[in-house]
Amino acid sequence: MIFVTVGTQLPFDRLLGAVDVWAEVHPGRRIVAQSGESGFVSDRLDIVARLERKDFRQLAQEAAVIVSHAGMGTILTALELCKPVIILPRRADLGEHRNDHQHATAERLGGLANVRVIWDESDLGPAMDAALQGHALPLDQESMSPNRMQLLQEVRSFISDAA
């Protein structure tokens, strides 16, 4: 199963369209898509406007590959579940978001082992094929990173120092 998500707010039909095109060439794969506030229709995708968090996590868990906008909810969930995720950042100049912070997110997080960034929807096909052929990503159970330990310590100290 392939899980596609564009969040629950703004539409992102450029990504859904690219997935739909891919699905046409690759029939027989189940594709579930959380479409947000979009009118996108396709009989090749199981489209749900908005998923409960636990259903979202369940689908992410079951997916062979996750395809997403550059939203932190998806990227962090993929990280926690050690799932390959293909990211297409939203573009403000196409009216897909209020600003280009997803571009920055994608640039900064493209280096994570399980994240593959595509900058153009036409690159979805090759990225999908590579992910599904399972060029095994070096994904172990996620361990606590030094970055995260540092932030946890900072929050802990802030709380215990509060008079």
Binding site: R53, M72, L76, Q150, A162
Partner: protein, 158 residues
């Protein structure tokens, strides 16, 4: 060496951990281990109390970019949550509701930490800008952002 503090419920810091839904909430969940020694109440916009049970969970209306009426209802709910919890400390991973919680809680002398979303890798978010003058600690999750703003960097949820 820091002296070990005996944990008595009455003496524990009461923390309100507040975040918008979606990615903001997922980032808050990655901070849960930091609240182990505190009495922590969580607040967010979706029905996600099961993520943090048995800790108390308070839900409020998501009002980002919605009508002014919804925004007002959301603000009143957040004020009410702050009144009920009376936190010593507010920690938020954004967005606008975190800023509001900081404003309300500061009226009761609470200390506050605004942690800007890890999604903001080039500049601070609008909510972080709003929180700048009110949060005791403004934190970015990117050293590059810390270098050009008054936010500080202390690691990230990644």
């Amino acid at each position: 060496m820091r002296k070990a503090i005996a944990i008595r419920p009455a003496g524990r810091r009461r923390v309100l951990a507040v975040a918008s839904g979606g990615g903001h909430w997922v980032q808050m969940l990655r901070l849960v281990p930091a609240f182990q020694e505190a009495e922590v109440h969580y607040a967010s916009t979706e029905d996600v109390g099961h993520d943090v049970a048995p800790a108390p969970y308070h839900q409020f209306l998501d009002a980002n970019r919605d009508t002014k009426l919804k925004l007002l209802v959301s603000a009143v709910q957040i004020a009410w949550i702050v009144l009920k919890v009376r936190p010593h400390v507010v920690v938020t991973t954004g967005a606008a509701p975190g800023y509001l919680a900081i404003r309300f809680a500061s009226l009761f002398g609470a200390r506050s930490m605004f942690i800007d979303s890890v999604a903001n890798g080039n500049e601070l978010s609008l909510s972080a800008h709003l929180a700048r003058r009110h949060a005791d600690r403004l934190v970015t999750q990117w050293p590059e952002v810390a270098a050009k703003t008054d936010a500080t960097y202390h690691g990230s949820v990644l």
